[in-house]
């Protein structure tokens, strides 16, 4: 799935496998590639067949799924929507990423009980359903008392996927799915858009197929994950892809080796992925008797209350400490937070607040509530405390200046407050989750160059409050985007299940105003919910 020598880890199927070897008709030509607006004649002249579909969603991950689900429930006939995707099912990329970052199906993901991508109402929540199904008072008590007396309830990955599968069947998702890769969407003279799909070899008579639609939804997910520059340099210079791995690439061989051989591992990063990787390393010690020594490298070591700018004493604009009304708990290096944003960004005060902010002010609030963080979980605290006591879990604070090989091992020159310290380890697991620029994605790059799209204060795609891509309007048509590519807009928390649903609701609302779908008033909404419960088609 991933080219180990690439600088970016992009968890999508290799696009080159979709390109036929020999030149056949119906391909893009220079005139098309250079024009920001296309006429029907230009596309026809290139021999590209045109398919008319009012609404297409590009990506085919959970963002596309949730949006399609919403519109289907709002009464859009299945014949009017298509999903253009290289994925076989909506949770394919998500499941891959969670699995390699150590959340296999039986483990719990970091997501709220009521954020259900398979249920637009969020009722019954995952937790309530699990508590009732298993008649488990502990789950129900947890839901009642979270986060005061219990850790936040979070659903099991496997349950999420099973429920998504059920909903996919209910709404006939598979019949909407058209396999292929999309790299270009251009505005059409006369309104609407052309979306160029490259189908898998042999699936169509021509190399490309054009979807002519009034509405386009872009939900292509993370543009990619980058390695830290020094790690990438080491990997390419020493041709070593075994000992230095990213948490988001398959790296089971590391754990296998650790169980057989007492080794030292350097874990880099202070977020949820680092927590997961540490849990796996510590679980393997408990279950399989691995003799792993863990060196945990933090760039920023959180000692107590903090915000997105860091510890109390760290510099922040306007100077001073964290605000009494804006600080979170932390300690032992970590900043603690239940989910990847303060919870109210998904519906409460912070959501309402950010919706009103522009430019600099918005970027400032994003910064203040941001910062790397992880949930405080009883089991993780127990494992780390044991590790500290027994001396096999140690923290270092600093950055890596240089890395050299020493036989099978790697010497990291770590710059700390006390000077440069050499740390020799067997493996390095990078959990820093550095995200690539959106222009690394060919479709997004094309939208920025030819589609009229622009960047927001955080550098991602600039979307309006209704998730319409600002600057891309074409006649009566509209282009929307949701997910990670829209981070930094009027709504934070876009790259989460609930965020995708918030976006889907805004898109549905806008489309309802345009007359493309029905309004989900109390009656229709309730009727549709009963259908969901019964498992019958919308």
């Amino acid at each position: 799935m991933i080219d180990p020598s690439a600088a970016s880890v992009v968890p999508t199927t290799d696009p080159s496998t979709y390109l036929p070897a020999q030149q056949i008709t119906g391909d893009l030509n220079d005139q098309l590639l250079q024009s920001d607006f296309w006429t029907d004649e230009m596309v026809a002249a290139a021999g590209i067949p045109i398919v008319d579909i009012p609404f297409v969603t590009i990506g085919g991950g959970i963002g596309s799924f949730v949006t399609l689900d919403y519109l289907r429930i709002a009464g859009v006939p299945t014949s009017q929507m298509r999903v253009l995707s290289t994925l076989d099912f909506a949770w394919q990329t998500y499941e891959y990423l969670t699995r390699v970052s150590q959340v296999p199906r039986p483990e719990r993901i970091r997501s709220d009980s009521a954020s259900r991508p398979d249920n637009i109402w969020g009722f019954p929540s995952y937790g309530f359903a699990e508590g009732v199904r298993k008649l488990d008072p502990k789950v129900l008590w947890g839901l009642f008392s979270e986060p005061i007396f219990a850790d936040y309830y979070t659903p099991k990955a496997g349950n999420v996927f099973e429920q998504l599968e059920r909903e996919a069947k209910r709404i006939g998702y598979d019949e909407r799915l058209v396999k292929g890769l999309v790299r270009i969407v251009r505005r059409r003279y006369g309104g609407g858009y052309f979306t160029i799909l490259t189908p898998p070899e042999g699936a169509s008579a021509t190399k490309r197929v054009a979807f002519r639609s009034q509405y386009v939804h872009v939900a292509v997910g993370y543009p990619g994950l980058k390695f830290l520059p020094e790690l990438q340099r080491y990997r390419t210079e020493n041709n070593d892809y075994r000992h230095i791995v990213n948490a988001y690439e398959a790296h089971e061989h590391v754990y296998e080796r650790l169980v057989q051989h007492p080794s030292t591992v350097l874990v880099r990063g202070g977020g949820i992925v680092a927590s997961r990787i540490l849990q796996r390393l510590m679980d393997d010690r408990e279950k399989f008797g691995a003799q792993t020594n863990i060196v945990h490298l933090f760039r920023t070591y959180i000692t107590g209350t903090n915000d997105g700018y860091g510890n109390e004493a760290d510099p922040r604009p306007g100077g001073g400490r964290t605000r009494v009304f804006m600080r979170r708990r932390g300690g032992n290096g970590w900043a603690y937070q239940g989910f990847n944003y303060p919870k109210s960004v998904w519906g409460g005060q912070l959501k309402a607040q950010v919706r009103q902010l522009e430019g600099e002010q918005r970027a400032e609030l994003y910064k203040r509530m941001g910062g790397t963080n992880t949930p405080w979980r009883k089991s993780w605290q127990r494992q780390m405390n044991q590790g500290r006591r027994e001396g096999w879990y140690n923290c270092v604070v600093g950055t890596v200046d240089d890395m050299q090989p020493n036989g099978e091992r790697i010497v990291n020159q770590i710059r700390t407050a006390q000077g440069v310290v050499p740390v020799e380890v067997d493996f390095v697991i990078d959990c820093t989750g550095l995200e690539a620029d959106i222009a690394e994605h060919r479709l997004l790059k094309d939208l920025l160059e030819h589609g009229g799209a622009s960047r927001n204060p955080v550098g991602r795609l600039n979307v309006d409050r209704n998730f319409e891509l600002i600057g891309t309007t074409s006649g009566t048509g509209a282009m929307y985007a949701s997910g990670a590519t829209t981070l930094g807009g009027y709504f934070p928390g876009v790259d989460t299940f609930l965020g995708l649903q918030v976006a889907a609701q805004e898109i549905y609302g806008d489309l309802a105003k345009r007359g493309f779908c029905k309004r989900l008033g109390p009656v229709r909404s309730t009727t549709q919910w009963w259908k969901w419960l019964a498992g019958s088609a919308p």
Binding site: A114, W121, S145, Q337, G348, Q349, K351, Q505, W529
Partner: protein, 151 residues
């Protein structure tokens, strides 16, 4: 819940008017009396229970301001599920005090039996708490994403 101040007040009014109104109508004749007072399907009893509901609504708006203030100390700016239930203690205590000393206009001192008040208040509170934490999301699909605002 993830309420904004506006959403809190709107939800409070909606819930007490709709659920409070209906439940009060149904439950009043069933409430227990005591040696001095008999409750039943009559104007005096309904006057008492509906005035209790109205008092809860008016004081509730003040309580929401206080809760909103407390919420500001929370990083998440959320209002945990449990808080929604346990705030019955302070709210019911205040309303009972006012009812019992005859401070609510239209309700005379010692005219409402304690257990009648207790059952009336608890049933309404519990139903509203349950509805707020789940089923409300079904008919009002935008409600949870807009801080509890209904309009």
């Amino acid at each position: 819940m993830l309420p904004t101040l506006n959403g809190r007040i709107q939800t409070r009014i909606f819930m007490l008017v709709v659920f409070g109104g209906v439940i009060t109508f149904l439950i009043t004749p069933l409430l227990p009396g005591n040696d001095d007072v008999d409750l039943g399907f009559d104007g005096d009893s309904y006057q008492a229970t509906y005035l209790i509901l109205l008092t809860t609504l008016v004081l509730g708006i003040v309580w929401e301001l206080i809760y909103h203030g407390i919420q500001q100390f929370r990083w998440e700016k959320d209002w945990p599920t449990m808080f929604g239930l346990i705030t019955i203690v302070n709210e019911a205590a205040l309303v009972w005090l006012l009812v019992d000393i005859g401070a609510v206009p239209g309700i005379e001192e010692d005219s409402v039996p304690f257990w009648a008040f207790f059952i009336d208040f608890s049933v309404i509170w519990f139903v509203i708490w349950v509805w707020t934490n789940g089923p409300m999301r079904v008919p009002f699909i935008r409600w949870r994403f807009f801080g509890g605002r209904i309009v």
